[in-house]
């Protein structure tokens, strides 16, 4: 891995400042809707009119991707799926793919995990069982089927290492030392380990160093992987932060309906993204932790 920046954590003022750190064209690793996307930064990226982003879903994407795609920020998506879960298809993603406005690299969940774990370990590839006979293979030149070197006549898939330019997510806590508490959402650690830079928003910045606390430490992503942090209260809204607030199902349903048309999506952006600061943006959500 080359060009890793200094491992000192920068504390940013807000989500806008983090969005400004993510350049156009960045390969951006994002968690699924159930694993704390940094929605406030997603909104800020739309407000700063980010362009040509390449999104990596770890391993799937939802609202965060649909918003960025609908707002014209995205050139390419690599993911195992893009959907709004119980709220149905991701309408802006679906339309963009059907109209050929978006390059999509279809993957399957464990291939993305393994590709990131390869970068995490500094190896160029990882083997993966299954997948043989799937048409996914036809579109992935960076994958290979080889003969298992330890047992002949045993074809096995080799997936290439994946290195995002930027990992971006939300968390419950960061601390003054720059550590981030991700709890049981360990895919966030995998993205951070593999990415060149990692930006995090959090509900709250705690005093002290969580690594000193044996009860918190197991859920901590060490500051060694963290490039920058900003506080964003309710920064995952309308998605959830386990133990703090639940998913805003009603809002997701509202979005799914609004975004069915380009016009409805533009009205949604107007109301929930353009005319609101991150702080205001999160205020209407009902808490249901």
């Amino acid at each position: 891995m080359s060009g890793l920046p200094s491992n000192e954590v920068v504390f940013f003022k807000n989500s806008e400042a983090i969005a400004a750190e993510i350049p156009d064209g960045a390969f951006l690793g994002l968690p699924p809707d159930y694993s704390m996307p940094a929605m406030a930064v997603v909104h800020a990226l739309i407000r700063r009119d980010a362009k040509h982003l390449k999104l990596l879903g770890v391993p799937v994407l939802g609202l965060s991707a649909d918003l960025l795609i609908g707002a014209g920020c995205v050139a390419e998506v690599e993911s195992s799926a893009v959907s709004l879960g119980e709220a149905g298809l991701a309408p802006r993603f679906t339309e963009a793919v059907e109209k050929n406005l978006l390059k999509i690299k279809d993957a399957t969940c464990p291939a993305i995990h393994s590709g990131l774990q390869a970068t995490e370990k500094g190896v160029p590839f990882m083997p993966l069982r299954g997948v043989l006979g799937s048409d996914l293979l036809k579109f992935r030149n960076e994958w290979r089927v080889i003969d298992n070197p330890l047992r002949r006549n045993d074809p096995i898939l080799i997936v290439a290492a994946i290195q995002p330019d930027v990992a971006l997510f939300h968390a419950r806590w960061a601390d003054e030392a720059g550590n981030v508490w991700i709890g049981r959402r360990k895919e966030l650690a995998t993205i951070a380990h593999a990415a060149r830079r990692c930006f995090v928003t959090c509900e709250e910045i705690r005093p002290g160093d969580m690594l000193e606390d044996e009860l918190l430490a197991p859920g901590v992503l060490s500051s060694v992987y963290v490039s920058g942090v900003a506080q964003a209260r309710r920064g995952a809204w309308p998605l959830s932060v386990a133990g703090v607030y639940g998913i805003d199902d009603a809002h997701l349903t509202l979005y799914a309906k609004a975004a069915k048309t380009g016009e409805g999506f533009r009205r949604y952006l107007e109301e929930y993204v353009w005319n609101r600061t991150p702080e205001k943006n999160s205020s209407p959500a009902a808490s249901r932790a």
């Binding site: 399957t108 043989l132 199902d249």
Partner: protein, 236 residues
């Protein structure tokens, strides 16, 4: 016989398919499979381990979203569920694109269909649009040639109209039963692939009174915590 919802019948079908599985995992947005699995759990003496990927509280996973796949790779998942925008007669599934329409994507199917002990295919819509002669895109193949390592594969295909069992050696579905209100002829006409069947089709057994009581009490409570919209639609 008491009236019941279509979802309740399908959940009962699933509960009856679970057999001796010890550990069932349920992926994204699968309220009917989840309902069937919880029903099975309340019906049987030996408790099932149920790993609901998106359980909102007390989620069983502590290693993040890769743990489900690692568990399956270790051989610790006996039963899994998959759907499909299209499913064909060789049990191939397509979660990507069909007739110019884009669907969410393959999720973990290309791995889980191999690694889980067995997989129940579930799709409510039973039409020639969904059950096709050949899927347009194979997200995950229904079978693998000799020499390809594969722990599991399809057990059954459950739709809103019928239940098919997979015949591994013949690589072909066999119609097991037709849900009440449908006929063999309906099934043949609305299925795009050929399948084996008896001269006269069995009818899928309706939910028993006991099954309905459990569905509407203990099971409904579990489901509403994780699939609130579904639970509200079926049981409110």
């Amino acid at each position: 016989m008491e009236p019941y919802a279509r979802e309740e019948l399908l959940a009962c079908c699933i509960a009856r398919l679970i057999g001796d599985a010890r550990h069932v995992a349920i992926g994204a947005a699968s309220p009917i499979p989840a309902t069937g699995v919880f029903l099975s759990n309340f019906l049987h003496q030996k408790p099932l381990r149920i790993s609901l990927l998106h359980k909102r509280s007390g989620n069983p996973f502590t290693e993040g979203s890769r743990e489900l796949f690692d568990l399956a790779g270790q051989g610790r998942i006996d039963l899994f569920f998959l759907g499909g925008a299209q499913i064909d007669g060789e049990a191939n599934i397509n979660l990507v694109q069909a007739e110019g329409k884009r669907f969410p994507g393959s999720f973990g199917s290309a791995f889980m269909y191999f690694a889980a002990g067995r997989t129940i295919l579930f799709r409510e819509e039973h039409s020639k649009r969904v059950l096709v002669p050949r899927v347009e895109f194979i997200s995950a193949p229904g079978w693998s040639p000799p020499g390809v390592e594969r722990r599991g594969g399809p057990q059954a295909l459950l739709t809103g109209k019928a239940l098919f069992l997979w015949q591994k050696d013949q690589r072909r579905f066999r119609l097991e039963s037709v849900h009440p209100g449908n006929t063999l002829d309906d099934i043949v006409k609305s299925t795009g692939f050929g399948f084996d069947h008896q001269a006269a089709a069995n009818t899928t057994a309706a939910p028993s009174a006991g099954e309905l009581v459990l569905l509407r009490s203990l099971v409904a409570k579990e489901i509403s915590a994780n699939y609130p919209e579904f639970a509200a639609r079926v049981w409110l």
